[in-house]
């Protein structure tokens, strides 16, 4: 039981991390109708920059700040230089161009930081663990991720539903030419949404840096999960992204934690372990295939 609660928390933590990534991706898709494979690159930029600043100065706050700014800036530049020209194009053109961006960013980080992965210390303030329930110590840093994820989710909800900017974003998602005709500078709006998405991805990267090895290509493995999330949740829906992210986080974590024991318990064959390992890696894809088979547009289709 104790183990179960701990794993649920781990699942939530992965879920909120995925949410930070998928919120931006789903907004970009919903508002600009753009498939961005390079979204994981902003996550990577955030992680690299934060790890470097942390090593140099030892201040997590500074690392977070610089990491966010750099990721947002990268997003803005990418939007202005490349992606702006592709909004009206076929999705496949966008796939090709953003695939090119992935190659560029991955190799670029290798050129700057080398092939060895970087490691980042958990900031001292959050390095201990607390007893959330009697007998269950849990790392503070992972709790911090859950809390910030919740805060970001609330912030995004307020931004999108209760501000003028959010109103324009929603309007842009439902009818592009109408909002342009009403005198809103749609170019500026798009750049802003894209930079916001990149910023959130960078934020996820900074938060992930102390937990994982910071290496070139780290964006892609999580990008695939992010796509799974937004497809499950329904493309363009931030609410869907949140629920999809938590669902994927929980299914993945709990599957990996408990499936091996479960299979072992059911049959004592030698293969049980490797089968369980592959089944639990497959878990989220099975989930996605099942959801799409019954709800081809995801759980919360937008618009």
């Amino acid at each position: 039981m104790l183990l179960f609660i701990e794993q649920v928390l781990n699942g939530l933590q992965l879920g909120f991390m995925l949410f930070l990534l998928s919120a931006g991706l789903t907004l970009v898709f919903g508002v600009m109708n753009l498939i961005n494979l390079a979204h994981g690159s902003f996550y990577m930029v955030g992680a690299y920059v934060a790890a470097t600043v942390m090593q140099a100065t030892g201040s997590f706050l500074l690392a977070l700040l610089v990491g966010l700014i750099m990721a947002g800036l990268c997003g803005l530049l990418v939007e202005v230089i490349v992606l702006r020209h592709l909004y009206k194009r076929d999705h496949l053109d966008q796939v090709l161009a953003t695939f090119g961006l992935i190659l560029f960013f991955n190799e670029g980080t290798r050129m700057i930081w080398g092939r060895q992965p970087l490691f980042m210390q958990v900031p001292e303030l959050f390095s201990g663990s607390v007893e959330i329930l009697p007998g269950i110590p849990y790392p503070v840093y992972r709790l911090l991720i859950i809390v910030t994820g919740l805060l970001v989710a609330t912030g995004l909800y307020l931004l999108i539903n209760h501000t003028r900017l959010g109103m324009r974003i929603r309007a842009g998602a439902s009818n592009r030419s109408m909002i342009a005709a009403l005198g809103v500078n749609i170019r500026w709006l798009y750049s802003l949404v894209f930079a916001l998405g990149a910023l959130l991805a960078g934020f996820a990267g900074v938060m992930a840096a102390p937990l994982f090895a910071v290496e070139s290509g780290m964006g892609e493995s999580i990008l695939i999960l992010t796509f799974v999330v937004i497809v499950i949740g329904g493309i363009g829906s931030v609410k869907g992204a949140l629920l999809g992210a938590l669902l994927v986080g929980l299914v993945d974590t709990l599957g990996r934690a408990f499936l091996p024991d479960l299979l072992q318990w059911m049959s004592a064959s030698d293969n049980a372990n490797s089968i369980a390992a592959s089944l639990s890696s497959m878990g989220i894809y099975l989930l996605m295939a099942a959801i799409l088979a019954f709800k081809p547009r995801g759980l919360f289709p937008a618009g």
Binding site: H91, L96, A97, R110, I224, V228, M282, P296
Partner: protein, 331 residues
């Protein structure tokens, strides 16, 4: 019209002659590794053509096409593994010892791929657009993890083949013969693909791309047409997979990875969607760019990325689109 046909015909003839002469030239100048890397290009060209059949003509953007390449490759490796280890592949309902016969292996690979495509296609084709992209990716990822878990066949480390599968008359272990074998199979496949695309079946598939509802109104059951196209494309990829396994004499679960699926898509888009020759050109150009750039710099991807972006922004219908303008004589 006749004039433009001629231009295209001459261009094809030159391409064929160059490809035929290449191994001899390479050997003459003592750069026989060129044969090996061109064999790889031909195999990928075939995989790209098969992907183009569904992406370019049917608007079914599969992000899991590498799965079928992987299946083909694993069929080749596994069947010959069982012959070499003298363990039957299965004992029930009858005992089967595996095989090293390339023809049989091609057949089995196509069957396996068709079966998997039929099952996954039944579910995937219920979705459209980006959802189709993601669900095909999901199935490919499932196979990727499945093959990682197969410890008998090397798991994550993959499986080394003891020599290539064999054919009567042709010595497949000779690199030049193998090159010509791949060239022959690619040529046959291109002819078949062109016939398919221009057949009634191909027209229906292309009609679905333009307006599926209208095709349905015309009385076609588009779901089954699209499923059939999906299965046909999968068998083509499986043949490419068998050849790829034979070329490198090694298979690993990386063949199923989304990275390879992505690269295949890039080849198709780079060459120009919805043209068989475009897919071939895309594969050749992508792999050659990769090889040429990597000869100059270790950081070749840093330059390849912007080149791809450049092509997207400035060559709207891919490289074949650019070429076609010249071949057709109007700018």
């Amino acid at each position: 019209m006749i004039f433009t046909m001629n231009r295209k015909f001459i261009f094809l003839l030159i391409a064929l002659i160059v490809l035929m002469a290449l191994p001899f030239v390479a050997e003459a100048i003592g750069e026989s590794y060129v044969i090996s890397s061109m064999t790889r290009v031909l195999i990928f060209a075939m995989a790209a053509v098969s992907l183009d059949l569904i992406v370019g003509y049917g608007a079914m953007v599969s992000f899991g096409h590498a799965a079928f390449v992987g299946l083909g490759a694993y069929v080749a490796a596994i069947l010959s593994f069982h012959v070499n280890e003298a363990i039957p592949v299965f004992n029930f309902p009858f005992s089967y010892d595996g095989s090293n016969n390339l023809l049989l292996i091609l057949l089995v690979a196509m069957l396996v791929a068709a079966l998997v495509a039929a099952v996954t296609g039944l579910i995937s084709l219920r979705t459209h657009g980006i959802h189709f992209i993601m669900i095909t990716l999901a199935f490919a990822q499932m196979l990727y993890y499945l093959f990682i878990s197969l410890d008998t066949y090397g798991g994550e480390d993959g499986l080394l083949m003891q020599g290539r599968n064999q054919l009567p008359v042709i010595d497949t272990s000779d690199d030049r013969s193998f090159y010509f074998l791949c060239l022959f199979i690619l040529a046959v496949y291109i002819v078949l693909a062109l016939r398919l695309v221009n057949s009634q079946f191909g027209r229906v598939i292309q009609g679905c791309k333009l307006n599926e509802k209208r095709m349905q109104a015309l009385g076609f059951n588009t779901y089954w047409y699209r499923l059939t196209a999906y299965i046909i494309a999968a068998t083509g990829a499986a043949v490419a997979g068998v050849l790829l396994a034979n070329k490198t004499e090694y298979v690993d679960p990386g063949l199923f990875s989304w990275h390879l699926s992505g690269e295949l898509l890039v080849m198709v888009i780079l060459g120009g969607l919805g043209s068989i020759y475009g897919a071939v050109i895309g594969a050749i150009v992508y792999l050659l760019l990769e090889q040429i750039l990597s000869a100059y710099t270790e950081h070749w991807m840093f330059y390849l990325g912007p080149i791809l972006i450049f092509v997207v922004i400035f060559a709207r219908n891919g490289l074949y689109g650019l070429l076609q303008k010249r071949l057709n004589g109007h700018a």
